[in-house]
């Protein structure tokens, strides 16, 4: 499925292949891809015809083939490069770029393409190897006693003694004390927050209105 992409890629490259050196030199159109349509130059806002629509939704992208997604990715990439170029040009002249929401549309589309490709990759890998396509994670315990997930990393050489990190079931003295004090601190923070909430709820309108604090009684 996804692994036949190299052939697709090479075919895509083959279609783009340079026909002749002379023909390539004369094409200024390739550099034009970095710039917006000339009708949009110097506009505060684009005309309705040129305004962006919506981003591709994930459901629409799921209907597309891998090669279509691959092409769409490059379309989005070029569009994003164009937008970055235009933004830099506008910023250098201290102007606002017209319709900056185009960035969001392109970025959303790209994120969703990645999402869909990940789904497909994941399905194939789960079927064939039983593992997900997401990067592997390890559970490790830090010197202060915190246990958390960390992405696994591949190494050329096996680890030296004491280099590899593990999850530790029983903490040593320092880590144990750290964890004890940490939970205590977190508990007190939560307690104070709850107190604040109660105090805010108990506050009456009069207290706001007359800027009055708690009752002050002197001879009691």
């Amino acid at each position: 499925m996804w692994r036949n992409l190299p052939t697709l890629l090479s075919s895509a490259v083959r279609t783009q292949k340079f026909p002749l050196a002379t023909a390539r030199l004369s094409t200024d159109a390739n550099m034009q891809q970095f710039f917006d349509d000339e009708a949009n130059f110097g506009k505060a806002e684009l005309r309705p015809k040129y305004r962006p629509g919506r981003a591709w939704t994930a459901d629409e992208l799921r209907l597309k083939s891998n090669s279509d997604l691959h092409k769409l990715w490059y379309v989005c990439l070029k569009e994003r490069n164009m937008l970055i170029t235009m933004r830099k040009a506008h910023v250098s002249r201290a102007r606002n770029m017209p319709n900056p929401e185009r960035f969001d549309r392109v970025q959303e589309s790209m994120d969703r393409i990645e999402e869909v490709v990940h789904e497909r990759n994941d399905a194939v890998l789960r079927l064939e190897t039983g593992e997900s396509a997401a990067p592997r994670e390890r559970t490790i315990t830090s010197f202060a006693g915190f246990t958390y997930q960390k992405p696994a990393k591949e190494h050329y050489l096996p680890p030296e003694n004491g280099q590899k990190e593990y999850e530790v079931p029983y903490l040593d003295d320092d880590a144990y004390m750290m964890q004890k004090l940490w939970t205590e601190k977190e508990y007190m923070k939560r307690r104070d927050q709850e107190d604040d909430v109660k105090r805010r709820a108990a506050r009456t309108d009069d207290m706001e209105r007359f800027k009055r604090g708690a009752p002050r009684v002197f001879n009691r």
Binding site: L5, P6, A21, M31, F35, G42, L77, K78, K88, E114
Partner: protein, 159 residues
């Protein structure tokens, strides 16, 4: 993350390919006069700081189909904002802008590129409108003291 991270490369493995690159490149304007002027077949890009020269060459030739001949890169350090500028010994950095990477890409002979003039028409227009307005305002004021006076000779003639 679209897929698994690439495994470390070992000799004999196939070349690693990127199917969905997320690098960005943008054309930047370079001065048209002075010592920083570039030859016509050279284009200045601002690129994703993760890109190497080789990446830039591949990106431009494969995605944009440009006749790249040579790529030179420059990394520009971002500005640092200090809490006190002149106290060199004890000052602290409050903020540092991101570093920028620029690529000067030399295309093959005969290729010419000049940055399109995006704001020229608009700027001219603004200038023109301003000038017209000023003239309108000045028209009455310019020779106010001398021209267009009510030419009365004086009171002693009794008029």
């Amino acid at each position: 993350m679209t897929s698994r991270l690439a495994r470390l490369w070992q000799p004999g493995n196939p070349q690693r390919r990127t199917f969905l690159p997320d690098f960005w490149m943008a054309v930047v304007e370079s001065p048209s006069v002075g010592r920083n002027k570039l030859p016509p077949n050279c284009v200045k890009f601002e690129v994703d700081p993760r890109m190497s020269r080789h990446d830039i060459r591949e990106y431009l030739t494969k995605i944009y189909d440009l006749p790249v001949r040579d790529v030179r890169t420059e990394v520009q350090m971002g500005d640092i904002i200090w809490n006190s500028k002149l106290d060199y010994q004890y000052r602290k950095a409050m903020w540092k802008d991101e570093d920028k990477k620029f690529a000067y890409v030399f295309m093959s002979k005969g290729f010419t590129f000049s940055f399109p003039k995006m704001f020229e028409a608009l700027e001219e227009d603004i200038e023109l409108v301003k000038a017209m307005k000023q003239q309108e305002e000045l028209k009455d004021k310019l020779n106010e003291r001398f021209a267009n006076r009510n030419r009365r000779v004086g009171n002693f003639l009794g008029s």
